[in-house]
Amino acid sequence: MPVLELRGISQEFGGLRALDGIDLQVPRHAIFGIIGPNGAGKTTLFNVITGIYPPTEGQLLFQQQPIASWSSHKVARLGVGRTFQNIRLFNRLSVLDNVKVAANWNRSAGFWASILGLPSYSREQKHCQEKAEALIDMLGLYDKRMEYAQSLSYGEQRRLEIARALIAEPSLLLLDEPAAGMNSSEKIELMDLIWKIRDDMQLTILLVEHDMHLVMSICEQIAVLDYGRKIAEGRPEQIKSDPRVIQSYLGVEA
C-alpha cells in the first residue's frame, strides 16, 4: 500500500503547465528520489503535495485519503513534514523554539490553557520540550539549542530544518535538495542521517536532489521529471541506463 499516491496530477500557472499528468506511487518506508533538470517541476510537485496550491487536475492520496484541496497546516498535521530548497527557518526564534513551534498542537493545551497555566498545558509543554530536545540532540544541535537559528552555520541550518520537520512525527518526510551546498563529507553524514531517520522513525522519505551520487546511493526508487512530465521511473540502476534520462538530464557521461 503506497503512503502517497498521485493520479494524473497537473498544475497550471496562467497557461504554463508546470506539472503534466503525474502518476506516482510512493511505497511505505521507501526512500524515493525525484530528479530532473531545473524547472522540471520538482519543487512544484512538493508544493502541490503540501497544499500550497491545489492541483489543477488529478487526485492526491495520502494514506488513501484524498488531500488535494487541503490547506497546508492540515496536510502537515496529517503527517507530511518538509524542508525547503532555500532554507526557511524562523531566523529570530531559538533553535529549540523553531522545533517546538512545529509540534502538533493538542486542543486541550490551547490559548486559554496557556494563559491560565492549566496543568494540561504544562504537561503538554513538558512533553513537547523533551521531544524537541531529543530531536535536536539526534541532529547534533543540542549545544546550540538556545541560539537564534540565523546564527547557525549552513549545514546546521539544514539539519535544524529536518529536526523541525520531524517533531510532529510525520509518516512522510519531503526533503527538497537536502544536500545543496554541502561538501562531500557533509553529504556522507547526510546520507547516514537519512537512513537513520527512516529506520528509527519508521517513515517514508521523498526527496528532490541534484547530487546524482547521493540519489543513486540512497534512493530505492527514482522518478525523473522533465518539463512537468514523468519521463522515467525505476530503481537507480535502471534510471542510470535509461536512454531518455541520459539524453534529457544525466548527459552521456553519467
Binding site: 502537515a76 525547503f84 523554539d97 510532529a168
Partner: protein, 291 residues
C-alpha cells in the same frame, strides 16, 4: 514644569502605545494596515461607557467588558473584511477593505449613539497625589499602571507561550508556518483579538481621562497610534511601545512649549523627520529586498 509635562506625555503616550500595538502586531503577520483599528478603540470606549452608565459597572468591569467585546469585534472584522481577500488579490484590496470597515464602524456607532460627544460619569475619584514637583491624578496612575501591566503581559505572551511563539513564527514566514502545521488563520484571529483588547482598554481609559467619547474619536487616535507604530518600527512590538511613549511625550512638550494649535502637526512632523533619517523606524529592521 518639565517633569509635569513629561508625566502627562507619558500618560498620553501609554494610550498611543496600547493602540499602536494592534497595528504593529497585525502588520507583522499579514502586512496589512488595519485602518479599522482606531474604530475598535472607539467601540471599546463606548462599550465601557455603556457598562458604566447602564449597568453601573466600575472601571475595572467596564474595561474588561470592553476588552471582551472588542476581541470579538476585531476577530469579526478580520473574518469578514480581510480573510476573504487574503492571498487572492493585490496588497491594495485589503487596504481599501480596511478603510471601508473603518468608515462602516464609525458611521454605525454614529447611528446607534448619535454624533454628540458623551461624557463618562465619575467612575473614578479624581484624587491627586503630589510627587515632589509633580501632580499625579488617580486616573493617570491607573493609565500608567494598567498600560504597563498589559504591555508586560503581552511581552510574556509573545516570548513564552505557545501562541506567542506561533505568532512570531508567522510574522517571520507565513507559508513555512503553515507547512509546519501551524493554523495560520487561527494565529491571525488571536492577533486581532489581542490587539483589539489592548485598544479597547486604551479606549475606556482615554474616555474616562479626557471625559469625552464620540463616534469619530477613533480616526485621529488611530492615525496617531499608527504614526507611533511606524515611528517605533512597524512590526516590532517594543517599537510600538517606544514609539507610542515618544510620540505622547513630544506632543505634550510641543503643546506646552510651542503652541497647542500645532498639536497634531507635531506628531506627524516628527514622523516625517524620523522616516527621512531612519526609514525603518526606531527599532524596525532594515529590509533587504531579495532580488
Amino acid at each position: 514644569m518639565i517633569w509635569q509635562q513629561l508625566l502627562n506625555g507619558l500618560t498620553l503616550g501609554s494610550t498611543y502605545a496600547l493602540i499602536a500595538l494592534g497595528y504593529t502586531m497585525v502588520y507583522g503577520i499579514v502586512q496589512l494596515i488595519n485602518f479599522a483599528h482606531g474604530e475598535i478603540y472607539m467601540v471599546g470606549a463606548f462599550v465601557g461607557l455603556f457598562l458604566v452608565t447602564v449597568w453601573d459597572a466600575n472601571l475595572a468591569v467596564a474595561m474588561l467588558g470592553a476588552m471582551a467585546v472588542c476581541m470579538l469585534l476585531g476577530v469579526l472584522v478580520e473574518r469578514i473584511a480581510y480573510r476573504p481577500l487574503r492571498g487572492k488579490s493585490s496588497r491594495l484590496s485589503p487596504l481599501i477593505s480596511a478603510l471601508g470597515a473603518s468608515i462602516f464602524l464609525s458611521t454605525l456607532m454614529a447611528l446607534i449613539a448619535g454624533v454628540n460627544t458623551r461624557r463618562y460619569p465619575a467612575v473614578q475619584d479624581v484624587g491627586s497625589y503630589a510627587l515632589g514637583p509633580v501632580q499625579l491624578s488617580s486616573m493617570q496612575v491607573i493609565i500608567l499602571l494598567v498600560s504597563a501591566a498589559l504591555m508586560i503581559g503581552l511581552q510574556f505572551l509573545v516570548a513564552h507561550t505557545r501562541i506567542g511563539k506561533a505568532m512570531r513564527a508567522c510574522s517571520q514566514d507565513l507559508d513555512a508556518s503553515a507547512l509546519m502545521g501551524i493554523n495560520v488563520n487561527r494565529v491571525i484571529s488571536y492577533t486581532f483579538a489581542i490587539g483589539s483588547a489592548l485598544a479597547a482598554a486604551g479606549g475606556v481609559m482615554v474616555g474616562v481621562y479626557y471625559n469625552a467619547v464620540w463616534p469619530y474619536m477613533g480616526t485621529l487616535a488611530g492615525l496617531k497610534a499608527f504614526a507611533a507604530a511606524v515611528l517605533g518600527g512597524i512590526g516590532s512590538i517594543p517599537g510600538a511601545m517606544l514609539g507610542g511613549l515618544t510620540l505622547g511625550i513630544l506632543e505634550i512638550m510641543g503643546v506646552a512649549y510651542i503652541s497647542s494649535s500645532f498639536k497634531d502637526a507635531i506628531a506627524f512632523g516628527i514622523l516625517i523627520i524620523v522616516l527621512i533619517i531612519r526609514p525603518q523606524g526606531i527599532l524596525g529592521e532594515k529590509i533587504n529586498k531579495k532580488v
